[in-house]
């Protein structure tokens, strides 16, 4: 596009582009800042989108860019696919979509580095920094790509959610990562052998597969956060390849954001990142309590009985879990809550940080069902309230309300912060059966004196409750 500009402008064009990049960066930072609060978040996202638009438009004036056919074609094709995916996706499938987008972002960064390498006729024109950056960009981008698609497969059920692993896999993975870094170093030293590049690309793609496949389905929130971080770092590395500040800054922002979220998720599960990546949670489960509970009894409840209990309560807390999302029961929950509220019952939602399949997923699902966000309470807010709560409805959640996290020091979830539902006067568990949760351990809450089980599909049970409320 620079061809259309008069010569006087061309002289200061490179500086102008950098200044506009700075403006775009400002929009990104302001946008992320506004994403911090529910009231301003939408505006924040729009700010970031404007920053992106500025970055793209200004780049088209770069004097190196002389051909536009591929650019226009690529943007049209990619834009249409992106538009379609964003419009069509179900809110329950958000984790899958984010995983796919992560994968595409990582792949794009790897391709940018590879394309820059392939575009230049003389490989020796790259200096060491350039070659190392290309290697790292391909490495991180490629493993983000395959890792994200394995995560996608696990989330959508194409690949078993169980931890698939064998002894020594972790050692192989770590060894392969170190070897790849070594190869990148050698590639920078002697770039003339094209096979080396292919080996780096191939191993990186493989590492993405072998490092995500041993991680269990319950840990996917952590994996997605981490891959999100990687996709940012890959973009920053591509920025080093092209010596482009905008890529470096934006990539670093995303990389840091992903790391913070990863850390939050790990804390919510009381596990270290190392433990998530190398621990193969779920594979080793089935410990104490998984069997031998023959003489324990549970109390069952019915829709009619439960309707009376909640209709005459003064405070009800709903604890949703992934089971609610799977049953697509978020709308019927809202209906029940509305009926209770019209009777003067105070209804709140207690949401564990790892409820759902990605950070904050449950909040999105309930927002979709028009639940106002100020009723969605996170763990620290809702825990002090259980003591004054009459009835807690636990719908499709299990491990996050398991008291063994506090009482059984040998159990796999010991130390995980949980929702203290056992402090309430009455708990109701909506569940298909007494089966164990992701962690593979029994839940003593089911057998507690104050607890009643409401067996069945979450959606059908709630519909029955909703109808029964009309009769009360």
């Amino acid at each position: 596009m620079s061809a259309f500009l008069p010569e006087t402008i061309l002289n200061w064009l490179p500086d102008a582009i950098q200044l506009f990049y700075l403006v775009a960066t400002g929009f990104f930072i302001r946008g992320v800042k506004l994403l911090n609060s529910p009231g301003t978040a939408r505006k924040g996202n729009q700010f970031a989108a404007i920053g992106m638009l500025i970055g793209v438009l200004v780049t088209l004036f770069d004097q190196d860019i002389v051909e536009f056919e591929l650019i226009v074609g690529g943007i049209v094709v990619g834009g249409l696919i992106g538009l379609l995916l964003a419009k069509k996706v179900q809110m329950t499938a958000m984790p899958e979509l984010v995983a796919v987008f992560n994968g595409f972002g990582g792949a794009a960064s790897a391709l940018v580095a590879w394309g820059e390498l392939a575009r230049n006729p003389d490989i020796l024109s790259f200096d060491t920094t350039g070659l190392v950056s290309i290697g790292l960009s391909v490495f991180i981008g490629a493993l983000t790509f395959t890792g994200s698609f394995i995560a996608f497969g696990k989330l959508s059920g194409f690949i078993s959610g169980n931890a698939i692993t064998f002894p020594g896999l972790n050692v192989i993975n770590i060894g392969a990562m170190i070897a790849t870094l070594g190869l990148i170093g050698y590639f920078a030293y002697d770039p003339t052998n094209p096979t080396l590049f292919w080996v780096i690309l191939g191993i990186s793609l493989l590492i993405g597969v072998t490092s995500v496949i041993p991680i269990g389905g319950a840990d996917m929130p952590v994996v997605i956060s981490l891959l999100n971080s990687y996709s940012g770092i890959a973009a920053a590395m591509a920025g080093f390849v092209l010596q482009n500040n905008l890529l470096i800054v934006s990539g670093a922002l995303v990389g840091a954001a992903g790391l913070i979220l990863t850390n939050i998720m790990c804390k919510a599960m009381n596990r270290s990142l190392v433990n998530v990546i190398f621990g193969s949670f779920g594979a080793a489960a089935g410990g104490p309590g998984a069997s031998g509970d023959g003489d324990k009894t549970v109390r069952e409840t019915s829709a009619e009985d439960l309707a009376i209990q909640v209709a005459y309560a003064s405070k009800v807390v709903i604890v949703p879990g992934y089971g609610l999302a799977v049953a697509q029961a978020q709308h019927i929950v809202k209906e029940v809550a509305t009926k209770l509220e019209s009777r003067g019952v105070q209804v709140k939602y207690g949401i564990h940080p790892v409820a759902g399949r990605m950070p904050g997923h449950m909040n999105v699902l309930l927002a979709e069902a028009d639940v106002p966000y100020d009723l969605l309470k996170d763990m620290d807010e809702i825990n002090p309230e259980f003591a004054t709560t009459d009835v807690v409805l636990i719908i499709g959640a299990n491990d996050v309300v398991n008291p063994l996290a506090k009482t059984d020091p040998t159990g796999p979830i010991y130390g995980m912060p949980i929702l203290n539902v056992d402090e309430a006067k009455r708990t109701i568990v909506f569940k298909r059966s007494l089966s164990v949760g992701y962690a593979g351990i029994d839940n003593p809450l089911f057998y507690a004196e104050k607890n009643q089980m409401f067996f069945g599909d979450a959606k059908k049970s709630l519909q029955a409750l909703n109808e029964a409320l009309n009769e009360v």
């Binding site: 490179p14 990104f28 800042k33 994403l35 911090n36 529910p38 009231g39 978040a41 939408r42 996202n45 970031a48 989108a49 992106m52 970055g55 793209v56 190196d64 002389v66 051909e67 536009f68 650019i71 074609g73 990619g78 696919i81 992106g82 995916l85 964003a86 419009k87 996706v89 958000m94 979509l97 984010v98 987008f101 595409f104 972002g105 794009a108 391709l111 394309g115 820059e116 575009r119 956060s225 996709s231 890959a234 973009a235 591509a238 920025g239 482009n244 905008l246 470096i248 800054v249 934006s250 990539g251 995303v254 840091a256 954001a257 913070i260 904050g360 999105v364 927002a367 106002p372 966000y373």
Partner: protein, 97 residues
């Protein structure tokens, strides 16, 4: 244009610190939109893809750049739009009535 590597590293490190500071206080309610929004920002690699696909050079490199543009655009357009769709649903109790 030769740029000093230390300067680029400097920028990278500072931007990371800003990222840590900006994000550490996000309420759990917004974690999903934040992640998909951040994801869309990581599509900034589209800028690099434009340069690779639009500059002169070996055709293979340009076609790789073309593929990068498609993937990055999916990430950018899809990411910002789906984030907007999610955030549109977040309402306060007062707004509802």
């Amino acid at each position: 244009m030769e740029v000093d590597l230390t300067l680029l590293l400097f920028i990278f490190a500072l931007a990371s610190f800003i990222g840590f500071e900006l994000i550490s206080k996000v309420p759990p309610t917004l974690h999903t939109p934040l992640m998909s929004g951040a994801n869309a920002i990581s599509g900034i690699t589209i800028v690099g893809a434009l340069i690779v696909a639009g500059s002169l050079g070996n055709p293979l490199g340009k076609w790789i750049g073309f593929a990068a543009i498609i993937l990055a655009t999916i990430n950018v357009v899809g990411g910002f739009m789906v984030t907007d769709r999610m955030l549109e649903m977040f309402k306060k109790k007062e707004d509802e009535k």
